[in-house]
Symmetry: C2
């Protein structure tokens, strides 16, 4: 006899709390950079919990972890949901992890209520969603959908010089399964908003309708080092000054284009990086995003023109390397409507929203109907150790995920 | 019987060549950061060479190395000359080292010619002139003249977290002598110009008349980290953007003030320094210099005003820490004239010049009549692995040093 399944808030919060002891930073927040020792410890715990709930766990060759809960019709494609468990260097408690552990809670709530869905359910934790250590981001899901060859992914070198392949082997997460082995009927991802809009408008749920496109560019400016006290200002070829000009330009560009355009210089490294030496070389990253493909292209062209002008004016050599490039993604209307309808049934105030952040759902949309559910971020903070979401909102999001997944699976 | 002493160009070049195998960088140039293993190896070689020439070597408590050549009147204060043997991270072959090894060649040339000067001669290699690892620069000479207490110098922490005291002990250069133990009659420093003027004008020698004053400031901007894709542009408190604004401002400021004003941002460090995270914190250095004290103060005030404006406009916290602050120094006319006259006697085209770079001579001027001799830098390059000076110019500078020192010592 089945009862109506119910999310257990305390259990969900308890698992989040326990998991977040891994890679906890002294002042709060978490650091579980992809394929680090902390990432491994998190993966080990997740695999154990999946096993304890009776999910059949499979690791694929890029390290994605999938736990399958049986359905009444085993031959049907499963409804997949999940997210990732890695973090940025100064990450919060819920970015990624919430979607995975809420998925685990959904499985346990269904089992507690003895619910067997028609289609199997598949809970996934994708490898290296953040991309902070190894670009591009969403690497595990990108390989899963065939957008990046496994060998190419293994060869990618991170900011610390290590490769994806070597680090995957080191932490013991090169599985035997071929990425993409399980083709889903649909994919749902529950995530924190990571922005301020739901909180500002007093809403609890967003049905995500699109994901911004993105271009990550690594810029290397090579000038000429020299003595800071003797080199006349007009004879300088100062790579640090170039880095400064680019940081100022990117900000102005994003503000000028307006709308959903974002622009960020998050990384700058100078060489030799000494107080009394004009910098010979600067390596920096530019992150441009927009939900509007044409505006994103406009921003990319403007950046390229700026770099050309700086190189000519300052007589420095500037080269670029694309780290990631993804077009905007629009989710199918039926999934967006399903999320909206589910939230309304549960009495949760909801709106449609585009996502400025990239997600694994962006890749999964290439192989199956895909959608996302957002819950509010307090103060809109994310990629920040003070990232937070109210417990009742964490519970509400999990409830929407459960109802929407049940509907897709039946 | 004495003959006329003569600089042996091949011997001087040979010693420079041998010494520069220590800390040689793969693509050319040298790295012997102060109190590093490479600095120790260089010191050991210098002490050995001083001993082989019969100089009486004394190490003082800040690691300055002084080798004394006897004079006919032992009770008189010696004529001191020298420079330093440490380098910046991407240093050239002659910055500092030339002045020390030319001094060694002067001693050997005098001995070859059986010349005994009336006053003793003292060859010095001062500790940590560059200041790249431990600020302030010219630390050894500053302690020597009583401008920095020994205990305060020992406590200074470098860019790698090590302290001066611990590193001095580690490399075995905490000597027993009290810094300042030997009060010179006069101090001469032979150095490469590190700028383009002598070469541009086809000259061989500069009689240095002044040294620019300098203010080194470490700026820390603390904003708020956040997600590069979701944080609206107008809600950002982006420390990397602040660093960029400061780099652009410092360049514009120096160009606007003009004259001998220099301004350099040589070091920028972001935290967490990741492509998709708005930087929470930026630490950078600003190096301002001018031979005109009033203009230097004007530049410092303008920088402070800029930081205040940025902090207010971007709602970030900006703090500063002074790393070094020295007023401009003017050398006494009689020493400048002596250098000029000596160059003319040797038939070497010469001019007067202020120095944009700081030197140990700047500190020594506090305790005795002091002067400097410059030789040309090819392309004006310095603090650069391609720093170079023609062999005939290296010889010419050593000859001027020898003649000027002999005149002061007799």
């Amino acid at each position: 006899m089945t009862t109506s399944p119910r999310i257990d808030r305390a259990r969900l919060l308890g698992r989040l709390e326990t998991f977040n002891r891994i890679g906890a930073l002294p002042g709060g927040g978490n650091c579980r950079l992809a394929l680090s020792d902390e990432d491994r410890a998190g993966r080990d715990l997740l695999v154990r919990w999946m096993g304890e709930l009776g999910l059949a766990v499979t690791i694929d060759a890029i390290g994605n972890i999938i736990g399958v809960r049986r359905g009444r019709s085993e031959e049907l494609a499963p409804v997949m949901f999940g997210s990732h468990v890695d973090t940025v260097g100064t990450g919060g408690r819920y970015d990624g992890l919430y979607g995975v552990l809420a998925g685990l809670e959904v499985c346990e709530a269904l089992s507690d209520a003895s619910v067997a869905t028609r289609r199997p359910l598949a809970l996934v934790a994708f490898t290296n969603e953040e991309g902070s250590r190894f670009a591009p981001y969403a690497m595990g899901s990108l390989v899963y959908v065939g957008g990046l060859a496994l060998g190419d992914a293994y060869a990618i070198r991170g900011i610390d010089g290590a490769t994806v392949g070597a680090e995957l082997r080191r932490i013991g997460y090169v599985g035997k399964a071929k990425p993409g082995w399980l083709k889903p009927h649909a994919y749902l991802e529950l995530h924190i908003e990571q922005g301020p809009i739901l909180e500002d408008e007093g809403l609890v749920i967003a049905a995500v309708e699109a994901i911004a496109g993105l271009a990550w560019t690594e810029v290397t400016a090579t000038g000429r080092s020299g003595h800071a006290g003797t080199t006349p200002m007009h004879l300088r070829h100062d790579a640090a000054h170039i880095a400064g000009e680019i940081a100022v330009f990117v900000r102005r560009l994003a503000c000028e284009i307006g709308g959903h355009q974002k622009g960020t210089v998050g990384r700058i490294e100078l060489y030799p990086n000494l107080v009394n030496v004009i910098a010979e070389r600067a390596v920096l990253t530019v992150d441009l995003r927009n939900t509007d493909a044409a505006q994103l292209q406009r921003a990319e062209r403007a950046l390229a023109a700026c770099l050309d002008q700086l190189a000519a004016r300052e007589n420095v050599s500037i080269s670029t390397r694309g780290l990631a490039h993804f077009a905007p993604v629009t989710f199918p209307a039926e999934i967006v409507s399903l999320v909206e309808a589910t939230a309304r049934e549960l009495g949760l105030p909801c709106r449609r929203l585009p996502s400025g952040a990239g997600h694994d759902a962006q890749m999964m949309a290439r192989i199956c109907p895909t959608g996302m559910i957002f819950v509010p971020s307090i103060g809109g903070l994310s990629h920040n150790v003070r990232e937070d979401t109210k417990p009742e909102h964490l519970e509400a999001g999990a409830a929407v995920l459960m109802r929407a997944a049940m509907r897709l699976a039946d």
